[in-house]
């Protein structure tokens, strides 16, 4: 592809102390895509996401976000440039109301009208949240909390939405519902980079996928091809 990707990781190496977690990870996300990062336990999925966000700093390699190297920049700068995250386990603010939670997502924005518009957009996407605007975040059910976490991320109108395990800890029916919403968000034009264990689910809505195994990208292809790939099974189940 000739256009510049929204996000490009080139030869990223990340260490936790002495332990080499990510080994020469390179990946690209283009505008409008829904890219899935797959892999079994301890394959480095979450670390990749943390590295992209700047919560963990890579020891070498470059991260380009919208054409600009950001690997030396703090998290808040990257968010300001247009990343947003739906964290693992949702991590909503339990003692704050749904409305306040959503407002926190727009923390770095100053355009009152734009925020209001996006508020409406998010509430339209999640009518459940509209009913519960003044309820404390911690009193929501797991599925509703996931909606809130997504809404909180979307309200910043991100160029790139990062999702960490959106299916975690949810009942199967909620997982399905969730993925439908994610697909809908993507179809409305938001670029999404998703880390997920549930490979079938993720690939069924994704554009492309990367498979991580012990910190290396071992496989990458169009999502529909990956769905039937033998090697993917190997990456999950070992040899």
């Amino acid at each position: 592809m000739s256009e510049t990707p929204i996000l490009r990781l080139s030869n990223i190496n990340t260490h936790y102390g002495q332990i080499h977690i990510l080994q020469d990870v390179s990946l690209e996300v283009y505008s409008g895509e829904l890219v899935c990062l797959l892999g079994g336990n301890a394959s480095g999925k979450s670390t990749t996401l943390k590295t992209i966000l700047g919560i963990v700093k890579p020891t070498s390699g470059t991260i380009e976000f919208r054409g600009e190297p950001v690997q030396q920049r703090p998290t808040s700068y990257r968010i300001e440039r247009g990343m947003a995250v739906v964290p693992e386990n949702r991590r909503i603010f339990g003692s704050m109301t749904v409305e306040e939670n959503l407002e926190m997502g727009a923390y770095l924005r100053n355009d009152r009208d734009g925020i209001k518009e996006d508020f409406e957009r998010v509430l339209k996407l999640f009518p459940r949240l509209k009913e519960r605007l003044h309820q404390l975040g911690g009193t929501l059910s797991g599925g509703e909390q996931q909606m809130l976490a997504m809404g909180r991320a979307l309200i910043s109108r991100p160029h790139l939405l990062l999702m960490d395990e959106p299916s975690m800890g949810l009942a199967p029916i909620l997982v399905e519902q969730n993925f439908e919403i994610i697909q809908q968000i993507n179809q409305q034009g938001t670029t999404i980079f998703m880390v997920e264990q549930n490979a079938n689910m993720a690939l069924s809505i994704g554009t492309r996928g990367y498979v991580l195994q012990t910190g290396r990208v071992v496989l990458t292809d169009q999502a529909k091809n990956l769905l039937h790939d033998e090697q993917l099974r190997k990456a999950y189940l070992g040899r």
Binding site: R78, P87, R91, S95, E100, P127, E131, R132
Partner: protein, 480 residues
């Protein structure tokens, strides 16, 4: 799976009905507090505050009220750091001390400088902010317990420096210079004087303290509801998530630290002006504990809680100075606790009657067994106290027996809380309550200074068991 499944939520829809269902005085109170707008609460606080000196000319009461206003101001500063931003700062009182000493330097013969109070206060606030930043920069790399330990160290260093910087060799001076006055402090400070108004009497100072408290209260309220306030709260909830929302967490923490320090500095200056002097001992750990007790009692992060907490933490120990009043409150508290906790309700009456009968039977038996140990008691000024003392079997060696009884009482209380069987517990409560009364009359009421501390301690323990979020604290909701 779609949208028609995400329908209207009945539980949420019926909220109004359910809240209307809370009846009785609780419902009425909740209704009133929900309907009253915020400015009405402010007006109420101001009205009560302004009215106090008009209702009484007793300077002692006005002095206590002034102390409440001062402590409330200081506690609001701490509430901003601990309650809003969630930073456990144990060096907070040092900023109060800095404010006090800066005021002392700028308005006394000790340094020979006499600045107008208005200017001094601006400098005090500025220095408070600066000190907050200076201590915040290194400390905020630490979290939780570590922050607490390091700031505790800062607090101690401040007191030590103020105590010991009496002979410091400075360049340009032949002899060592006394920088802080040491344990003797700095005395004869200028009175508080601003815009042609000079505070001379206790009442004058009371109004100054009240005005500052109200200003800080209003500032704190608006701060809490601002963008920054919400950011602080999210920081307290989940720092990583706040970081991921793009909040500049470090700057936010520093801001909380600095603003808290500035408020502490301001209250310290007011304190110094009021007392007319500063001593290192004014800013020690005891004060720190008191301020923390205020915000924990009132509820972390709650502004009305700070006011209620200060009233309770300052007023209760003062009320307990009067032995007779303290006694009446003590017995009233026992009776109220019994009525509130025992079910069915008649049990509390039965228990009280049983305790009285128990005492009436026990005394003749003990006197008959050992007539030499008992003598007629001296009458006190209070009929109420005399009645109870005569009902109890108080021996001649009241102090020694009282000490033993104290130990026995603690054992009995532990025992009672362990007993599960209702009837056995009822029976065990009879001697326990008798012992409680006995210990009060022989020991606790005799040493009011220690009892006051005990009382506050017990109050805090009980509160933390039944309302861990404080009296007016918002309920914490954990995300599971």
């Amino acid at each position: 799976m779609s949208k028609d499944k995400i329908g209207k939520d009945e539980w949420v829809a019926s909220y109004q009905q359910r809240s209307a269902g809370i009846v009785g005085w609780r419902g009425a109170l909740a209704g009133i507090s929900e309907r009253l707008p915020t400015w009405a609460w402010f007006a109420l606080v101001i009205a009560i505050g302004v009215a106090i000196p008009m209702l009484t000319s007793n300077t002692y009461i006005i002095r206590v009220a002034g102390n409440i206003a001062l402590m409330a101001t200081l506690a609001m500063g701490l509430n901003l750091v601990v309650g809003y931003a969630g930073l456990l700062d144990l060096g907070f009182v040092a900023f109060y001390g800095v404010g006090g000493y800066v005021y002392a330097y700028l308005s006394s013969d000790f340094s020979g400088v006499h600045l107008p109070t208005g200017l001094t206060l601006i400098i005090v606030i500025g220095i408070g902010l600066l000190f907050g930043l200076l201590l915040g920069l290194p400390s905020l790399r630490l979290v939780g317990d570590y922050l607490a330990i390091v700031t505790l160290g800062f607090g101690q260093i401040f007191v030590q420096l103020m105590t010991s910087m009496t002979r410091v060799n400075l360049p340009g001076h032949e002899r060592p210079v006394n920088l802080t006055g040491g344990p003797n402090g700095i005395v004869n400070l200028d009175p508080f004087s601003i815009l042609g108004f000079t505070a001379n009497t206790v009442t004058d100072y009371y109004y100054v303290l009240l005005a500052v408290m109200v200003i800080i209260l209003i500032v704190g309220f608006h701060l809490n509801n601002s963008r920054i306030g919400r950011a602080w709260r999210s920081l307290r909830e989940d720092e990583l998530a706040a970081d991921a929302m793009g909040m500049p967490t470090r700057q936010l923490k520093l801001l909380a630290f600095a603003l808290g320090a500035a408020i502490a500095g301001l209250s310290g200056a007011l304190f110094a002006a009021w007392q007319g002097s500063v001593f290192p001992g004014n800013f020690d750990i005891a004060l720190l504990i008191n301020v923390y007790a205020i915000i924990v009692l009132g509820g972390l992060g709650s502004l009305p809680g700070v006011i209620v907490g200060s009233v309770l933490m300052i007023a209760i120990p003062e009320i307990l100075r009067n032995v007779e009043l303290a006694g009446q409150l003590f017995y009233l508290l026992i009776i109220v606790t019994l009525i509130a906790t025992l079910r069915p309700r008649w049990q509390s009456v039965a228990l009280l009657v049983s305790v009285i009968v128990f005492g009436l039977i026990l005394k003749p038996i003990l006197v008959a067994l050992s007539p030499a140990s008992f003598a007629a008691l001296e009458a006190t000024s209070s009929g109420f106290v005399d009645t109870i003392r005569n009902w109890l079997a108080i021996p001649i060696e009241a102090k020694a027996v009282g000490n033993l009884a104290f130990g026995a009482l603690i054992l009995m209380i532990l025992l009672v809380t362990r007993i599960k069987d209702m009837r056995v517990r009822f029976i065990a409560l009879i001697p326990t309550l008798y012992l409680l009364s006995f210990v009060w009359e022989t020991r606790l009421s005799q040493e009011p200074s220690i009892t006051r501390l005990l009382f506050v301690g017990v109050l805090l323990i009980v509160l933390m068991i039944y309302r861990p979020n404080g009296l007016l604290g918002e309920r914490r909701v954990e995300v599971v």
